[in-house]
Each structure stands twice: as structure tokens, then as C-alpha cells.
Amino acid sequence: MSDKALDMTTYREEMDERPSDKLSPQTLLEMFWYMLLSRRLDERSWILHRQGRIPFHISGMGHEACQVATAFAINRGIDYVHPYYRDLAMCLAIGITPRDFMLSLFGKAGEISSGARQMPSHFSSRKHNILSMSSPVATQVPQAAGLAFAIKYRLKMGLQDPNDTAQPRLAITSLGEGSTSQGEWHEGMNWAGVHKLPFICLVENNIYAISVPVDQQMAVRNVADRAAAYGVEGVIVDGNDVLASYDAMAYAVQRAYSGEGPTLVEAKTYRPVPHSSDDDDRSYRTREEVEQWKRKDPIQRFQAVLQERGILTQEQLDEYESRARQMVDEAQKFAEDAPYPEIEPNLDPNSVYAPVEVD
């Protein structure tokens, strides 16, 4: 544990071997695919909202690199993930499907979290160990510390085999930089530090919380600078660089798995679209700023790397594009055709409780 946040952008150069160097071409393509799929699904969602066909959309655009890197660095579908509303790409890479997302946007029966009781982008899937957040921000952080606590507890009590990779071995949570102003973030981080938990906090720092810039949220330069105060390792990374993000996350994962304790990974990124479908971002930032960041688009950057390395051909890219479009079309149609949830069972007060089994 260092008392200064580790800057991965420089640190990487000192590393003999970068974890991302070990990723196979197939894996790299798979990562690219999820980033692209997420982008296309996200773009369609904005269109559906503009057409008045869905009530609300909150987007993960621009954040795809650090999110997909996270999914690929953990034991996907097994390790606990307590994400936030921007994590579409992360959740797709873990196993949530475009159909699942569309069902949620349209509020249709069969929606996987709760049959459309929960809002869209409040991802949840028991099957994938993805846990649903509540709308108040940062409230997932102490819970994620609790998940990590349970993992450590099971290990200590001999309730779990440390090498059993079919069990969650870490808990990761994510949130925006603005949400780290919230008391629950500080309490959760401190908790994770005190108990030295297998815990990772991914901060997707897109420099705005709705309209409020990061320098009005905190008096320090980086969120990761605060990690030392909790006994947590702090890492800063270019969140629009998927391979650098993977390196940072792999480092955090290795620390968690080997019992070295929690890590805060701050991914520097940008949201090139409004906060949500209720926002108009023209009132608080210039178009030039947005355009500048669009040039650092994570998908274009990764595409260039893959093409340069001869891993991604134009043909393959075209095939991905048409497959993504097909999947999004199909998912949309599936959701539009699906029935709405039944009323009675959803208004049944007993449905709020787990069934009580009495012998």
C-alpha cells in the first residue's frame, strides 16, 4: 500500500509484463465486440427515447473501455458486481443481453431484475452475481464492502475453498466521481480498508456530475488520492484505453485474490452525451470540449490498435457492425412485442417479502 495513488499511465511502462499482453487475439476481439455492441444498443436507446417510445434512458457511452476491461479482469459471472447506472457495457460483457436491456427500457414482463418493477440501468441478475443498486447514489458501496466481508468470512470460517473459482472471490462496485462526495462512499471505503477486504471500487471519473464539474465535488485532484486515507491502494488509469484499464483492473483483482486488500481504481473518462434523457448538457459545457473528447473515443482507439496489430480486419469489423445491428433490432422487436407485466401480482403486498417457509 502506497500513500500516493499509482498512476498506471506511467507505471505501465515500468512493468516487465503487462497483464493485457497476455490476452489472446480472440479475447481482444471479444472485448472489442462488447464495447461495440454496448455502443450500438446505447445509441438505439437514445433514439427510442427521442421517438417517445421509452420513458427514460441513462447512457454508458464513452465509458465502455474501463467497463469491459473490468468485466474481463474479474471472474465474470462469478465475482460479485455491484454496478451503477452507466455500466451497460460491463453488464453486457458479464452476460446481460440486449433483450434483457430492451425489456427493461420498455418496462415489459420478463424483464430480468424484477419483471419491470425496477428502473432501467439498475442492473441486476442473480445468475451473474450482479446486484441491483438503488437510485440514491453511492449506496452500493457499503453493500459491496459487505459482500467482500462475507467472502472473507467464509474463507476464515472454512466455509469456502480458497481455490474454488466457482465461488465469488471478490466484490467490485462502481460509481461516478461526483458520488464519492457521499458519506456512504467514505464509510464503505473505510470499512473495506479496516477489514482488508477483497474489494475493488471502480470510480468512472467523467469530470461531471450532471452539470457540476469535479473541482466543485472535491478539493483534491484525483479521487484516488483519497485511497491512502482508508488504507486502500489507489490507482489512476486512462479509462478510455481499454488495455491500460485492463492492466489496472488486473492489478486490483490480483491484490483482492491474494488477500492484499482493497483497491480503488479511478478511470479517467468522459460522457460525450447528456447525463440522461432528462438533461441538456449545452448549458454547462462547450461543444468544443465535447468534440475534443470524442476524439479520444475508446472504441475508435481500440479499433485502431487492433487494426494496427492486424487482429481486426475490415471484414471482421463489418461483420461485427451488422451482427450488432441485428441483435439490437431483434432485441427491440422482442421487447416491443412482449406483454406488459400483470397488475395483480405486482400490487400484492405479500410479493414484497420473501416467502416464509414454516415447517
Binding site: R117, P136, A209, D348
Partner: protein
């Protein structure tokens, strides 16, 4: 009577806040998105340019501090208006509201007072899901030491803000997210105040008393129109303040109509309906001709999907149905 001007609740709130800021330099506004963005519901639009960042402060996302710092600043002689983006996030500030704002004057023997205004927005019906659509006004009305008001009309919105800011006690002004565009006549009087704890009859009738507040008043008005076509005259009491609670108007009305329906957007258990019913039992039992009915939200977390959400909420139709059950 002063002249009036027709305006929306949003405009009324905005005008009242602006006038109070000009009237008293110790008044300042703080909260998430209140400055550059002009407020989540655009109530403080233009304030940032007009008054500057010293008096219109965008805060970190930290509700406990928005209220807690408001309590501190109020004890130090300022008149803060702390804005909580929505009432759902007020749960994160409960300790500051309940254990501090509401207690300080009493627990410190009057040495300190807390002239704090907390503005927030309640209500569901906009497909924002259970954790984003609460209507928990009663929680705040539970505690002595706080005043709680819920404007349903533009003139109340205007006067309540002024009352709240000028009052030496902590006042929660709980607005409704779907009423900002509702229009009404507002007195052109910079000193128009809504007396603390005074309810008002918003429609007269002799057959049944409807008691409500906030959005519920509008469901009642709609229901009263429907009922009138069938020759049933409903009297509507807008409580306006949940604390202090004015029992005089609804008791008086009940003694005339002998029948009552209480309408609220919140959950049924231990709600406003329960309280009002108990007051009637205590003060007007002998005038009761039928059991009192409540119209509330269904007893579940408010679902997201449109139709189930609408079915889970009260409506004018549900009020009409309840009225027919007590007639």
C-alpha cells in the same frame, strides 16, 4: 385584497425565493444543481447569474452536508435554503433533519434557533422506480420541532416559501414533481405569507368531506367535478401543513357532511389517513354516519412499468369510488 397574477407553481416558487433574497442578504440557496443548471425543476433558473455563486451554491452530492451545513449556518445567523433534489435523497439527510434541525431549539433551551428552509420534491407517477418515487411526507411530519408544508396551489407555493424563510424554525417545503406547471392566481404582495399550520377549504360542498394535501388535492378536485355531475357535492379541505396539523377545518366540515374520505399519495400504514381518522374519532365521533375511507398508494414499492405504476397510485376514479362507498 391584493391584485393577483396568474402563474405556475414553478414561477411562484421562483418569484418568492427571488424576492426573499433581495429582501434579506442572509438568505442563500445551496443544493445539487441549483446554480449553473438552475435547479432540477428549474425553480432557480437565472439565480446564479443574478445573485452570484456566493448566494447560489452548487454543492457536492452530499445530502447530509446540505442539510447539516444548513443547520450550522442557520445557528450562526444566516437563513439558508437547503435544496434536496428529491425527497428520496432526504433519507440520506435524516439525522440532520430529525436529530438536529428539529431538536436544537428545544434541547438547547432556546439558546440557538434554526431558521432553515429545506426545499424538496415528492411524488411518483413518472416511471422512476421504487427508490426514486417515494411520497414519505409523513415521516417528517412525525417529529415535533419541524414545520412541514406541501403546496398544492400556486399562491401557497409563493406564500409558503416566504413563511418558511422568515420563520425562525426549520421548515420543510415539500413540492410535488408533477405540479410545477400547475397554474393559479398569486397575490401581488411581497409580504404574502401562508400562516403556519392553517388548512383551507378549496371547494365547498355538503355531502362528503375530502381531506388531502399536495397532489391529492388535485385528485379530489377532479373527483368532485365527476361527483357533481351526479349531484354529489364534495367539500375539499387542503391541509397544506402536515405539521402543525390544523384540525379545525376538517372537523367543522365533517360535522356538516358526516362523511369523509382522506386522500394521500403515500403508503396506507400509519399515514395521514390514519391520523385524520383518529382526530375525527377524538373530536367528532358523534357526527359520524359512515366509516371513514382512505385512498392511498397500494402497499408496495412503487413499480416502474407504466401501467402497474399508475394502478398502484391513487386517482380521481379511486376517490369517486371511495366517496360512493361512504355515502
Amino acid at each position: 385584497m391584493a391584485e393577483t397574477k396568474r402563474m405556475t407553481i414553478r414561477e411562484a416558487l421562483s418569484q418568492a425565493l427571488r424576492e426573499e433574497m433581495y429582501r434579506d442578504e442572509t438568505v442563500f440557496i445551496m443544493g445539487e444543481e441549483v446554480g449553473v443548471w438552475g435547479g432540477t425543476y428549474a425553480v432557480t433558473r437565472g439565480f446564479y447569474d443574478e445573485f452570484g455563486e456566493k448566494r447560489v451554491r452548487d454543492t457536492p452530492i452530499a445530502e447530509m452536508a446540505i442539510v447539516g451545513a444548513g443547520v450550522g449556518a442557520a445557528m450562526a445567523g444566516l437563513r439558508p435554503v437547503s435544496e434536496l433534489m428529491t425527497i428520496n435523497f432526504a433519507f440520506l439527510a435524516l439525522d440532520a433533519i430529525v436529530n438536529h434541525a428539529a431538536k436544537i431549539h428545544s434541547m438547547f433551551g432556546g439558546q440557538f434557533k434554526v431558521p432553515l428552509t429545506i426545499r424538496t420534491t415528492t411524488g411518483g407517477g413518472r416511471q422512476l422506480g421504487a427508490t426514486h418515487s417515494h411520497s414519505p411526507e409523513i415521516i417528517f411530519a412525525h417529529f415535533p420541532g419541524l414545520y412541514v408544508c406541501c403546496p398544492a396551489m400556486a399562491d401557497d407555493a409563493y406564500g409558503m416559501i416566504k413563511t418558511a424563510i422568515r420563520n425562525d424554525n426549520p421548515v420543510m417545503v415539500i413540492e410535488h414533481s408533477t405540479l410545477y406547471q400547475t397554474r393559479g392566481e398569486v397575490p401581488l404582495d411581497q409580504d404574502y405569507l401562508v400562516p403556519v399550520g392553517e388548512s383551507r377549504i378549496v371547494r365547498e360542498g355538503k355531502d362528503v368531506t375530502l381531506v388531502s394535501f399536495s397532489k391529492g388535492v388535485h385528485w379530489c378536485l377532479e373527483a368532485a367535478d365527476i361527483l357533481a355531475k351526479e349531484g354529489i357535492e364534495a367539500e375539499i379541505v387542503d391541509l397544506r401543513w402536515l405539521r402543525p396539523l390544523d384540525t379545525s377545518k376538517f372537523i367543522e366540515s365533517f360535522k356538516k357532511t358526516n362523511r369523509m374520505v382522506v386522500v394521500e399519495e403515500g403508503l396506507p400504514q400509519f399515514g395521514v389517513g390514519a391520523e385524520i381518522t383518529a382526530r375525527v374519532m377524538e373530536e367528532a365521533f358523534d357526527w359520524m354516519d359512515a366509516p371513514i375511507k382512505r385512498v392511498t398508494a397500494e402497499d408496495v414499492p412503487l413499480p416502474y412499468s407504466r401501467e402497474i405504476e399508475q394502478m398502484a397510485l391513487p386517482s380521481a376514479e379511486k376517490v369517486v369510488k371511495a366517496v360512493k362507498e361512504v355515502l
